[in-house]
Symmetry: D2
Subunit: 357 residues, 4 copies
């Protein structure tokens, strides 16, 4: 008999349900008797002992369903060791709930922040298995995270739609793609949507070069230019600021987001109208794409196998087309950045895409 | 032999190409010899004599293509009688180009503004046939405009995506749908997407009632609330302002758009986080939906028939499931508003949707 | 207090759940106390008293869900008055279950066959409200049925996909679209997908004219031809057969379906390879399109209103863009055929589409 | 100055245009002067000297376009060395056309058969670069082929649609997925669509075990079962036949395809109705999915780079998330089968999917 706790933490994304279904189906088909404790709304559920007992049927029919049947919330790692507003020690509370329910392990689905807390719980002696969830694809130790490809699909759809209207009207359009710290999503959606200019956090841009690229298109007789701009795109000047200075700049920012500043500067420098579209949270909603469904199911299935074998302390990841286990301590606190030298960036440049660098 | 001019004016939308293809296919299949003059970028092309000769093959394969192969631009009716920056009389220039090319008629695709100018040209003696293009579905004299259903599909997709993330996180989400003056698009996308609250220009809202609706959902145990808010949604207080006063308010507006004000007020009154998503121009991009392809093709085909019969001065519209011709003078300058008493509004209310009124 | 029975009968289609949700939401929001008895698997549930009590929450979140939460089955009208294999009088059994549960009315969702039985139950004294469900759009008394537009979307997607491969390979392709008796779906999907030839039951085809149309395209330099063929397409010779003779022909048919015969004959007469694609049941599956969601919700809402007002014996239909009530006796047993003279057919012909007639 | 020939051969698939655009954009952006000779309809164009000169603009806007702008055809490797019906030596003709046009290299996009001929041309001394195109993902030497993920998406959509109707009606449904020799596509679409049973060529099935799996679902209270069956699925008995015997069986086959035999046998053994859906050629049509657009663009870009560096005789493939060059002689004539021991198969089994083995 295995008692498994489960929670989803951080911003939700596609295929969370598919992944959990994978874990539970694997366990249920193993012959092992199991009890599933679904903690609600992320770590908060584990802290306050808020859970539902779930049966195999709760995971039936959710393969294609977006969101998470457990709910999610953000519980910043920064303050995880601080007591809550009633003085409760959150880490201690999680441990107590874990032991009180005599859990064999916790399955935790989340992104970077989630993994830091998961690793902390591991250090505290809990049996932890994690699954790499994020549309950002920025988790260290895995080639891919689920949610990413679904988000690429949605952001690309958005650029496709903008393409037709851009070509009718001959304007400059910006599509702002999610990604504060990394540019995987913007780069892939930009390439898939045929964006002409892609601005990402890893490659700071020079607005003069951006404007040059627009002008060169114009000279070639192209009526329009489309930019895919990551939420965290940064200019070369801003990149020189200290973290603190840049934060201060953003606090007094007159723009709703970075894309609007880019739009404003292009508009001033070229005299052209620039339109900004922000698909925002749609990028992590809706039914997971087939790629993510298969991928998350596979990860979930392997997580189930690790549990059956009593192997804890790992994130289930993906390396060279195989599902692998990665020690949690190696994952926690590390970002998988996109290198400006990565071959995909070079290939994008060969295709004529400007990064403004 | 028929010499046909053609132009698309105003914001582009889906199925413009399908409609033009319909006109040309109908003419080409009639046995009548034809010459097609495609004026580029809306009325501007007709004013400055900027056109391309087009053959039947130019209209082949464009049924499913978004945008317009002729390009489009906005040429405000307000200033159409004013000379351009070089002193050119624009109306006169259009007439001269029409006569110089010995056109039998102009086929003009556009929305409200476009129809005012089209009617002016008719009054000036030109043979005009128009086709009702707009995602807003606000053209007088026709039950439906092409672009509308495609835009409903895109805005609904957006709400669908938000639905999953809203249910995971239990927040209030606003999706801002296009429509400054009329609410057809927001109402239909809102109903299709299962929005809980729909705010449209025709029914001014009381923020207290909006907040009440959110609270009632909360009391029923619903974790989240989704609002579909038209760009032109207006509060009861603002609706009391004179047009001039309201315009002034918007000029000094601290929000990027009305939705953000709604979000801010809900947030202040409920203490809940409110997220705004703005699909923006995506709503008029991309491939037309099958409904619009059929509809626009039918309209185009009937426009072709009218041309063959030498019947000019009409918009080709849709009434009670039949394609009809509507005198241009009846269409120009009128908006088809959504009545707060319309049965669809009553049905929406029966479904539990709040309009904040 | 109202006690409402509900069942879905016949082949399922999109938006059945949306329609039922509409009924229940309307009733629940009216303040009237209600009890919903959901009979399972069509009339079978009513015959054998197989039902589930349903609450408002059962209808929450199903707006976008394909299929029917009640299950469905076919119960042929032909044999409804015959006793079942255990000698049970089916009509009597339905009445008994209705009265035993003290139902105020039955809400019945279905197509043509379903309406005949529904009308029979009305004649037997039961209070009946029906909703027009069918992808065929062939119900008399309503301009539109839900499921139709969703099916058009799927069949059109299919033709779109075939279009690219047809243009690469320069072959003749047939897409077989659902519709044994009527051609609405094939005609609309065919027009939306840009099919070159459309064969429907209402317009019997001459294979020589079909082949001529293919040859003419070839002579014009077109590499490929796409046919949208309804399941019930019929040649002029076969149309001359008596019903009995034609039935006999189909019994000894060497082809899986009519499309394959068309393919075979074209292939023999032109020497060209002809490929057949049969999307089949996919055409009634999947999430309803936004149009159907709105439409079915509106119909459901009005059905709820009729129940509240105690008005029974009607199908809720759609006429001239308004939701209307149509006496059941007028609907039962009648098909809404597509007239070969209908303006949409003429428009299609103007576009160059051949019907092989 | 580089003179580049280009052709697409074999069954078309998604992203062929994206890949060619990648090659041309890379070359055009390199500063090198180029001439592109597009041979029409596969090797046939090269044999008969049928080509078009193409400029960069011909490759603009085709990233999202399905099919191939060059057309394609099948030219069986088996008979490539045989003279054509007029006695023309085909290999010799290709060489002559290559030299006559003073080509620097041929870029050839295709699948297995195509690669055999491409390698033959390499052996004959031509400079060849190939790109791995096939929805089957069965090319040796690359982890992935373009077209595959797009086909997975379409086949999965199909299973999704069937899912709703299956759950309404409680039947057994078979979706026949493309793949005569390998099961990658069926396995991935089956897993993504939540199929209960997956039959693929690599794992021959025992019909008793298939029926057992259906019965077990029934006993668990599941109303329906969905099978994803590859075109080349084979029973354990048939797998024992010699290739010749099996071919003979298929020649006298009374079923349109293997799925219908599976359906028939299940139907006979369980008494349940079984429906077969065959999405067929739709699986390789339509716009490429974002994954394939990025992937094909990257491959094309690297092919361009190889050409610039004068490195010939390679297929551009994908290994461990990097674009690599693979010697053509290693690729030609080898299939990348799915091993029954592959971890993805084991994971699928853990999820409860039966392979009938």
């Amino acid at each position: 008999m295995k008692r498994i706790g489960m929670l989803t933490s951080g911003g939700d994304c596609q295929a969370l349900n598919a992944a959990m279904r994978g874990v539970v189906k694997c366990l249920a088909n193993s012959g092992e008797e199991i009890e599933i404790y679904g903690f609600l709304d992320g770590y908060r559920g584990l802290i306050y002992g808020n859970f539902r007992m779930l049966g195999e049927h709760d995971f039936s029919g959710i393969l294609t369903k977006g969101g998470t049947i457990l709910g999610s919330s953000r519980t910043p790692f920064k303050t995880i060791k601080d007591p809550d507003e009633n003085g409760l020690d959150k880490v201690d509370a999680m441990k107590q709930n874990y032991y009180k329910l005599q859990l064999d392990c916790m399955v935790i689905l989340g992104g970077n922040g989630t993994h830091k807390t998961a690793n902390l719980l591991r250090e505290e002696g809990l049996n932890i298995i994690t699954l790499p969830k994020t549309i950002d694809n920025d988790l260290w130790g895995t080639d891919m995270t689920f949610g990413f490809q679904s988000a690429v699909d949605i952001a690309t759809d958005c650029i496709d739609c903008i393409h037709t209207t851009a070509s009718s009207h001959g304007r400059v359009f910006i599509v702002e793609v999610m990604g504060h710290k990394v540019g995987w999503l913007t780069l892939n959606a930009g390439m898939a949507g045929g964006a002409d200019i892609i601005l990402i956090p890893e490659i700071s841009y020079d607005i003069d070069k951006v404007v040059d690229a627009i002008k060169q298109r114009h000279e070639k007789g192209k009526r329009f230019t489309i930019l895919a701009v990551a939420e965290g795109a940064i200019s070369k000047e801003d990149a020189k600021l200290s973290k603190k200075e840049y934060k201060k700049k953003l606090e007094n920012y007159k723009y709703p987001s970075v894309s609007y500043e880019v739009a404003d500067r292009i508009s001033q420098m070229t005299g052209q109208e620039v339109r900004v579209t922000v698909p925002g949270h749609t990028q992590r909603g809706g039914s997971p794409c087939p790629y993510d469904r298969v991928f998350a199911s596979r990860l979930g299935s392997e997580a189930g196998r690790l549990i059956l074998e009593g192997e804890y302390g790992f994130m289930v990841g993906y390396k060279n087309r195989e599902i692998v286990k990665v020690p949690l301590e190696d994952v926690a606190g590390k970002l998988k950045m996109l290198s400006p030298e990565a071959s995909i960036v070079q290939e994008a440049k060969s295709l004529g895409i400007s990064f403004g660098d």
